[in-house]
Point group: C2
Chain length 304, copies 2
């Protein structure tokens, strides 16, 4: 680890799960002093062994930090760790910055930015895409909403975690961009699983089909990366169905608020809820094929 | 043009439209003797000037050819040029090969293969993807169904037109693979247009959104190539809505025959029919945004 320089901000990190662990580690490796908090402290232990200071609450992290990053599970967790009684804002010194990297509600992002302002704390929303592999390899896309000056201040830190970093607009805009990302994935995944189910029923070899159609105008990250896993019957996440259902729910609520009817997104949520109802909520998003199978017995043979 | 060698088969070409023209031209440039027929003879004229012999009917082409390629508009056109009274099979010498490269019905492909067999003519189905650009640059994907020995005989000709060439199985399998391709595009396009409409309504800059989300797990050929055209309000085809509706109809009919419910494909056809009803049947597939706009007034500003 490089030595801490005096002018570097002190960093706090809340949420050291499958994504946050690697992101926090990259920041430490770039030579920043780090305080960490995680609901299950054992997941933060390797970071403590690298030199991070373990705190007992989000407020404890905030009290010793200039910039605090949060990446937790659901909007209710974001609300708790940032706005709660022992939350970040309760103890963050004026002039501080809070960056929520959880995929969460645009409305909540705006609310947190407003509450921060009242305490002279700037709150950015900065959800990411790229999954655990992107986090580990520091190749995430980071979509940021909030104050442009603060974005510039935090940008060097984003650059140690991600490859594509973009300020999308005012508070909430990072979350909106992430929603656009998830809506795009939702439609694409419907195409992927319907295409593979059709090909299978038509008697085609699905690996050959993927090799042929994945290269042209039908090609996508999803067909080329998740298609072969579907054919192999490997439904390990990747990105988990339960979390994707959360994201699609946020997107649908926002769309409703904007009086926007998005029939593909509605269909995707209906199908993903079916996947969860079948008991596959903790499998990867490509388990969508299992909802199509249930809709179309005789069974798609997953483990043939 | 290279000189014709004596052992090369004589080639016939039926359908010299936006795709067929270039494909035929590549075959001629590879040194094959060519007979051509097109419903509008003027479109074949540049090929005649390059040395092709213009014929007055599909039968006229067949009589002078060892291998005949067809690429026309709709299944009814395929039926007419191959099975019709002055069609290819009426005059094709025994031992000949007919290759239909139109995107058409798997059932029709099987029927033509059977009728061919009775006349000792082998019929392959070999639809393509890659569009007019792929045809011009000889970078098509070619998905073939039919007899493996005949496939090997025709493969050198496929290789002068395309980059990816694959035998998918018996007669009809090429068409089935193309259907899987179109089903995949249909789902992806729903994701593309819903994502961009959401982003626009949320106040984001759509070009920035495409640049960010097009690179990761949401990325696809469609978002990266057609997304910017949507933002620019440029709906020139690419691939035409009218033809895509034909393809989706064939796919849905086949799915029904296989007792397969594909809700995303059904939704896509409903939305594309809406695009056509709005008067945009001759625009590109990315005009799907116009159906979403109609579903969600105030209008998506196409030409802002």
């Amino acid at each position: 680890m490089r030595a801490q320089t005096a002018d570097k901000p002190r960093i706090g990190w809340i949420g050291t799960g499958v994504m946050g662990f690697w992101m926090c580690r990259h920041v430490m490796e770039a030579g920043y002093v780090m305080s960490v908090y995680n609901r299950s402290p054992d997941k933060a232990q390797p970071l403590v062994e690298m030199g991070a200071t373990l705190k007992q609450s989000p407020a404890g992290v905030a009290a010793d930090s200039d910039i605090v990053f949060t990446i937790v599970g659901f909007p209710k967790d974001v609300r708790e760790v940032i706005l709660g009684q022992r939350g970040v804002l309760s103890a963050m010194p004026p002039g501080g910055v809070v960056v929520d990297m959880t995929t969460s509600e645009p409305d909540l992002a705006r609310q947190m930015a407003e509450e921060g302002l009242q305490r002279q704390v700037t709150v950015l929303d900065a959800p990411v895409s790229g999954g655990d592999v992107g986090a580990r390899e520091a190749r995430l896309s980071i979509m940021v909403g909030g104050d442009p000056e603060t974005f510039k201040r935090v940008e060097p830190l984003f650059r140690v975690m991600g490859k594509t970093v973009a300020l999308m607009g005012p508070a909430g805009s990072g979350q909106h961009c992430k929603m656009a990302n998830q809506i795009l994935i939702a439609g694409t995944m419907i195409g992927v699983v319907e295409s593979l189910l059709y090909a299978h029923r038509a008697g085609l070899d699905r690996d050959t089909v993927i090799a042929v159609i994945g290269q042209g105008a039908a090609g996508s990250w999803s067909i080329n990366n998740l298609g072969p896993r579907i054919v192999a019957g490997n439904f390990e996440p990747g990105f988990m169905v339960d979390h994707f259902i959360k994201d699609l729910g946020i997107a649908l609520d926002e769309a409703t608020r904007m009086k926007l009817e998005l029939p593909g997104l509605s269909l995707a949520r209906r199908l993903y809820r079916k996947v969860k109802a079948l008991g596959h909520g903790r499998k990867g998003t490509h388990a969508l094929i299992l909802a199509l199978e249930a809709l179309n017995p005789p069974a798609w043979k997953v483990y043939e």
